[in-house]
């Protein structure tokens, strides 16, 4: 019964992502929203941190938050998945529970 982890603060500024990755099950998903969407940028220290998780196909980003911050598709790590608010709702149903990390 996998969990959807919701990260809403920047991993450049806070250590929530490290804690999340430490206690995450391999079937779990992760969605980056609000200030956390900066994690999408390729070839960065954070990209390295979530590399394995991206390979599982369960790494999601909230598209409206990416657009707001002017982050272009060509600068994103390959293999991540973009969702809108509707897709976010669907993920919370697809996964059995959510856990928010700030």
């Amino acid at each position: 019964m996998p969990t959807l982890h919701i990260i809403n603060t920047s991993p450049n500024m806070r250590t929530a992502l490290q804690s999340c990755l430490r206690v995450m099950h391999e079937d779990d998903g992760i969605i980056f929203i609000e200030d956390a969407v900066i994690s999408v940028k390729k070839d960065t220290p954070i990209a390295e941190l979530i590399k394995e998780k991206i390979l599982t196909g369960k790494c999601f980003f909230l598209k409206p938050d990416l657009e707001a911050r002017g982050i272009k598709e060509e600068s994103m790590t390959q293999g991540i998945k973009l969702v809108d608010y509707n897709g976010f709702v669907k993920l919370t149903i697809e996964f059995y529970r959510t856990q928010t990390w700030s």
């Binding site: 804690s19 206690v23 099950h25 529970r97 959510t98 856990q99 928010t100």
Partner: protein, 120 residues
């Protein structure tokens, strides 16, 4: 009423904010209303359990006595993450309560065994 299994993940230092103390209030309330509540202390949350907290000079309410209220509620489990203790140079003997000290993988399983997770 349908009981739910609720897990509180307490990651914050006490006193730097009211998060620690208000999260406890919520945990106690859910327990009083028949939900099955457990708590995990990880990251700076392990500091909530330090012995000998003296809050007179900062003028804030001491949280430690609240933990004695555990016994009045049916809290299922109190977990502390080992890695969080180590990073802070802490040991089980620094803590004011008997708790179950678990590693990060066990913690992942605890999360999987609950319906709802509350973070703070």
């Amino acid at each position: 009423m349908e009981q739910k299994t609720c897990l509180f993940i307490n990651r914050r230092s006490p006193y730097g904010s009211t998060h620690a103390s208000e999260a406890l209030d919520m945990a106690f309330a859910l327990s009083a209303f028949e939900h099955r509540v457990s708590l995990i202390f990880m990251d700076d949350g392990v500091l909530q359990l330090m012995r000998d907290q003296q809050t007179e000079t900062i003028g804030m309410k001491n949280m430690s006595p609240s933990f004695k209220a555990w016994e009045d509620y049916e809290i299922q489990h109190l977990y502390v993450e080992q890695a969080s203790l180590e990073t802070r140079g802490m040991q089980a003997s620094d803590l004011l309560l008997d708790v179950e000290i678990i590693d990060s993988q066990q913690l992942a399983k605890v999360i999987q065994s609950h319906q709802f997770i509350f973070n703070n």
